[in-house]
Each structure stands twice: as C-alpha cells, then as structure tokens.
Symmetry: C2
C-alpha cells in the first residue's frame, strides 16, 4: 500500500502541509506519522506559542507571519477557539540596542504596525526597574537599562495545542490519517528504475525517496514530507541532504504569583484590551508571558552558547543561574518566585538568516528550521510545502498574495537576515 | 603559558592563516596543533589538489582562487617547487548542461579565461567517446553525450604536500611552532570576568575562547583559529556555533596505464605545453587526472547522496560500482583498468553557495567549508582569517585587491551561489 503523501512529524509544519495538500487535492491519501501519541506534542507543545505579525526585519518573515496570523485570526473568528490572546509584544531595548534596529522600527511605526515608547511613557504603564544606578550586581549580570519599548499590535500568544487539534480534526474530516507512536528510523532511497543488482542505488542511478523505515515497519508513498523539527537533520544527514538547521534546547519555566504585586503583573493595563502584560522581551533577551487565564507567569531565555544537540531535558539550575537573578532586577515584584513547572523543547534554527527552510529534492519536501517563530508562520509554510509537493512554482498565501515556492530553498539562498530574534 | 595565536589544523587553511598572521605580526607566538604527524596530512593530502583560477560562477570564488593561484605561481617562480602543472581544466558538458552555464562560460571566454570547444573541435584532440547511439548500457548508466568542452587556462593541479611544506617551513622561519599528534577534545569557553561561582560561564556572562583541551593537556591562547576541515563542526557544535558546513567522504582511485593506448592518455597533445591530458571533468561529474610525472591516472566521483559523516575509509566497491563502468564508456582505452591505489578524505562543504566559510566570534576565527576548491583559495582564506584575528575590516589579497573581511561570514550570508561544483 502506497500513500499519496506521507508526512513525518505532526507538529505545526507537518500538519499545515497535510492540511493544505488535502484541501487542494481532495480524495488523495495522506498519512502523518509521529513518534508521540498525538499531534503537536514535540517542540510545538514546548514553545511559548507567541506570535508577532510584523515584528521582523526580514520582509519574507513579515509576509509569512503576517498572512499566517491573519489565517489563525480568521479561524478563530469562524468559531474555532485557538486560544489567541492578542495582547501585543513589548520589546524593551537599551539605547544601543534600539539604535541598531531603529530604521526598521520607525518604518514599522509609520506603517502602523508598532508603537515606539520612550522610557518616560513606559514608566506610566509598567512598574519595573528601568535603570540600575550604583547596582554592582546588576553590572556584573550585564543588565542593560530600558530606554525604549517597541510595542507590536498584531502580536500575542495562542494555544499551540488548540491549533494542532484544529489541523488534526480538519485533516481527519478530509480523509487524512495519523499513525502515532511511530518512530522513523530512516528514509528509503531507491532507484527510479530498479535493476536488481547489489548496492542499489548506485551513484549513477536517479533516485526517489520511496518511503520510510519505522519501528512499525516499512511505509511507502508517492511523496514524502519531512517536518520532524529538531530531528530533521538526523533523517537527512544519512542521505547527504543539508537542511541548514541544527537544534538547541530551549527551556521554559513557569511561576505562580503568590503576592499582591505578583498578581498585579497579570493585570497590567494600558497596553491591550485584555488588560494583561504584553508578551515582553527584556534587553537581556529574557522573555515573560503572564497569562491571566491560568494565572501563570512564563519565564525563559534563549541562551546563545547552548550546544547543538537533541537533549531536551529541562534543568532547574538554568532557572536559578540564568533567569531568576536577571528577572528580579527588572521585576523586583518577582522576588522569591520559585519554579512551578518547567519543560524544554528543541529549537531548530538556521544561523544564516533566521527565515524558515523549505525545499524539495526529487519527490521529497523538507520544512524546518524556524523555531522561535515557526508556529506563527505555520500556515504560510504549509502552503509553500504543499505547492512544492505539487511541483508548482508559486504558493498562494492567505489573503491572496503569492510567493515563489523556492524562496526558502537552501541552495543559492539569499534572504534578508532576521535581526528580531527573540 | 599563553600563545598569541593557537591554530587547530595544519591543513592549507590553518597554515596559510598562521603564515599571514606571522608575516603581519613578526615576533608573535604562534602554535599550530594537528592530530596527524606533519602538516597537510588530512583532507589536504587526500584531495586532487587541482586548481582553477577563473572557472567559477561566483565572482567571490573567482577572486579568492584567482589571487591565490597567482600567489602559488609567484612562489613557484621564486624557486620553491610546488609541483604546479598548469595543464588546464577541461569541463566536458552535454548540450543541456552547457546551456545552464552558457552565460558565465561566454563571459569567461570574452575575458580570455576559457576557451569553449564544440564537439567537432574536441574530436581532433581527444580520443574519447562523444556519443553512445544504441548503447543501452550507456543509457542505463545515465551517460550523457559530450557536446561542449570548456577549457580553463589558469588551471591544473599541484602538489598539495609541497604547498603544505612550503607554508610549514616559512612559518618555522618566522618563529611559529607546531605540535603534532595532538587531538583537540574541546574548545575552552571561559567568562571574560571570572567570578569563581559554580557553572561558569553563566548565560549572562561575556565569554572568550581561552584555549583548547587536548590529549596532551590544556593549551591557552589570546586568539584561536579553528581550521579543522571535516572535524570543525565537532568542535563548534558543543559551543553552539554553526559553521554552516558538513563533511562527506570523497574517494580517489588511481590506476596505472598498462597498454599503449592507456599510456597515450598521459600524452594528450594540443591542450597545453606539457602535452598531457588537462584535468578533465566528464558530464557525469567523474573527473580524471593523468599525471605524466608519476605515470598514474586518478579517477574520482563526487557522489551526491553520500551521507554526511566523518567516515573516511575508501571502498573498493565504489570504484567498480560507480566509477569504472562510466569511465570506460567515455574512455574505452581504460578497459580493464584495476585499482592501483585508493584513499579517501573528508569533503567539508556548505550547501548554500559553495563559497568558503570564514568568520569571527569573540577571540576565535573559523575557516572551513570549501572542500573541492579549498586549497586553490588557500592564500586568500589565510589573509582573510588573519585580518579577522586582528579585527581588521578588510583583507588585502595577493596583487593588492581588497575584500571585506566579513564577506564569508555565516550570519546574514548572501553570496553568489557557485554552479561550477566539480
């Protein structure tokens, strides 16, 4: 039995690709395999599920995220709850940091996508420490002052599970199938014309990717999609295909407010209709998400020197060493906040430009390399991958804008580098 | 004891970097470590040591190779034998293949760098098969006809050992030192300001790369250069730095002419003064180097689906499966040619643009990712890496032309993709 499309990975990229392929090809057989027990249980579930539609320096990223966020808002308006909280992003920057991105920030402000706050304006809305005169510990911790805040409007966070379930249910409605608890061991490479000689395929044979070897046996398909997040390179390296992306562990720690001042953080007014703290990025690149709905505060840091590896165990020491001491400098009201919950996921990134990586080789399409802002571009990535499977030169994004299907290709890549990497 | 510069890797990139650094900084202490017993024993020794000055579609590659080849020719003119055989490159292409690169080929011909031959002209000089009418086996083997030949003048091959020894001896003359048989286990990452707390460096500390842990103990230096060829990523992945390059095994097989016709191949006239076969690339991407000096014919193929891995064992079956059957279709005079010698090395490539990768992070410079055309760009790479170590914005290449020192940087990379990948 051979499926029309076999997708490795039931994260947002794999789901969105299957969804758009089925939408454009009703009746085709689609099978999605994943090593977990349901959709969106890998990096999708471990992410902050934040979204920002315009806060990118790369025009390609703005297009991918903008149209995807529009699609998600449209889905929610249609009555499917994706848990979207359009609370805005608040990127706090020191003077030096701001100057490096001022040009884009001002351009985005003119376009109505962001508002730039100065320190004095921020102080009226947000009770944090903005400067640290005479604080030797702050200096040691390389704490930077807050001079500016860039507030992005079409930004916030959503419920990644709900988005994954939305896709899963639509895919099932269209006849798509899932096989969970399935670990893919390798991609089957076979000659287009089988000769029955030893050591096929030989180097001179044209090959196709005919399926997968899994812990549940061989699966065959006319087309393959590899959207295996931080494990993608482990499938592609053995067949000599470079996906330009490597994974790093990223950890999130949650704390529960225990004092009045801590609870007040969940009810920060003046930025959004919801009256909550926007998704906030500190000058140290720590971020904080204070979700009023479940009363938790999420804290995290993307540490640069983290090894490339598939280790995804959270470490309590990371919170006490690298997050807590810095966070309480800015948010003294979080003094004493202890870990309530923690998890880690694989952050799969391309270091060249921080745009996603989507490309086709023979009958296989790969979609990966955009952790940190992958979910929020998920709809566009699925459309591009679905276009590539069908051999189309362009993909139509939500809202009608078109993009060359090879825009995110590895070979000959030349994309605007992304400077807003949070 | 702390060296001014510690270089990992005594291949051409490491050697050239140390050479130019010492030339520009007489009296500085430079130590080069390598796991082998002498210079140039890794991929340098395993390569075909071919060079082509102009045969690139990337203008950056043309500049890097052109000035480096000029430097090598200059060195040889000064009386140091580098074993240079300026026999030319002959790139044989089918009509389809030629059409894809015709624009660059014609531009290069106008500039006097190449001559484009048509099949009929080639037939007068080179006794091979150009077409395969009715040959079903040739069709099965995906043999392509030869319709064009692009002959590059400032091209040929050299003796990689001699080039490595040249650099080694000059480095020693300038006071540089080598420590061989030294395996680097990891790069030492330390905080710029040591606090004496557990788990340093913390994520908020500024770091420097203070040296190396090796099988012979710790070595410290003010500046580090990582030029470890196909092992570079194994040193950089654990500290979370992406060198954009992955290694594949590349194998070379030599055969000895045993018949008159085979010997005649070594004496192909009409292309060069030496009266030997140019370094020839077939439409199947197999290449052939027939060196009159030692009477050997080198045969190889860069197989695309080769896994990324650090395995570097040659396989006899690769010759009989993938090289011999194709080579004898074009060169029937090689019928019966058996392996005389074989070896394999790691081919470290960046899949994005096939230009070299050279960048600086803190006090460390990385130079890698250009196998296939690395040796022939070695002088320019050393100058760029030496400029980066010294914090300069530009490097001066041989002949005086200047290049931004960050041209080959990973982050924000946007280089002309190379289409002449042989």
């Amino acid at each position: 039995m051979e499926a029309d499309l076999l997708v490795v990975g039931a994260g947002i990229f794999g789901l969105s690709t299957a969804y758009h392929y089925l939408r454009e090809n009703p009746g085709k057989s689609v099978l999605i395999v994943d090593r977990m027990g349901d959709v969106g249980q890998g990096a999708t579930a471990k992410s902050a599920a934040a979204f920002r539609a315009d806060l990118f320096t790369s025009a390609t990223n703005r297009l991918l995220a903008g149209t995807s966020v529009d699609f998600f808002l449209h889905v929610q308006e249609e009555g499917y709850d994706l848990g979207i909280m359009k609370v805005g992003y608040l990127v706090l920057r020191s003077r030096d940091q701001f100057e490096r991105i001022a040009e884009v920030a001002v351009m985005l402000e003119r376009a109505g996508a962001v508002r730039i706050y100065r320190r004095e304006e921020l102080k009226e809305k947000l009770q944090i420490n903005y400067e640290f005169p005479g604080d030797e510990e702050a200096e040691l911790l390389n704490i930077k002052e807050v001079d500016y805040g860039i507030f992005g409007y079409k930004c916030g966070y959503m419920d990644a599970d709900k988005l994954a379930y939305y896709y899963r249910d639509r895919i099932r409605e269209m006849g798509g199938d899932f096989q969970f608890n399935t670990k893919v061991e390798r991609i089957l490479v076979e000659p287009e014309i089988k000769l029955g000689i030893p050591r096929e395929p030989r180097a001179w044979q044209k090959v196709k990717f005919s399926g997968l070897e899994t812990n549940r046996g061989i699966m065959r398909a006319k087309n393959l999609v590899i959207a295996a997040g931080g494990w993608t390179h482990l499938l592609l390296d053995p067949i000599g295909i470079d996906c330009l992306s490597k994974p790093k562990k990223r950890q999130i720690f949650t704390v529960r407010p225990r004092t009045e001042e801590q609870r007040a953080l969940l009810n920060t007014t003046g930025f959004n209709e919801e009256g909550v703290l926007p998704f906030t990025i500190l000058p140290t690149e720590h971020y904080i998400r204070a979700d009023k709905r479940d009363g938790t505060i999420w804290l995290a840091l993307s540490d640069e020197m983290r090894p490339f590896s598939t280790d995804d165990e959270p470490e309590e020491s990371f919170y006490y060493d690298n997050i807590y001491p810095i966070i309480v400098k800015y948010f003294p009201q979080l003094e004493g906040a202890r870990i309530d919950n923690m998890w880690a996921g694989l952050y799969m990134i391309n270091s060249v430009d921080h745009n996603p990586v989507v490309f086709r080789r023979s009958n296989m399409v790969v979609a990966t390399g955009d952790s940190g802002s992958g979910i929020m571009k998920g709809d566009a990535i699925g459309r591009i991958a679905a276009a590539l499977i069908q051999g189309r030169r362009e993909a139509e994004l939500f809202g009608g804008e078109r993009i060359p299907a090879d825009r995110l290709e590895v070979v000959g890549r030349s994309l605007e580098p992304e400077s807003f990497v949070f």
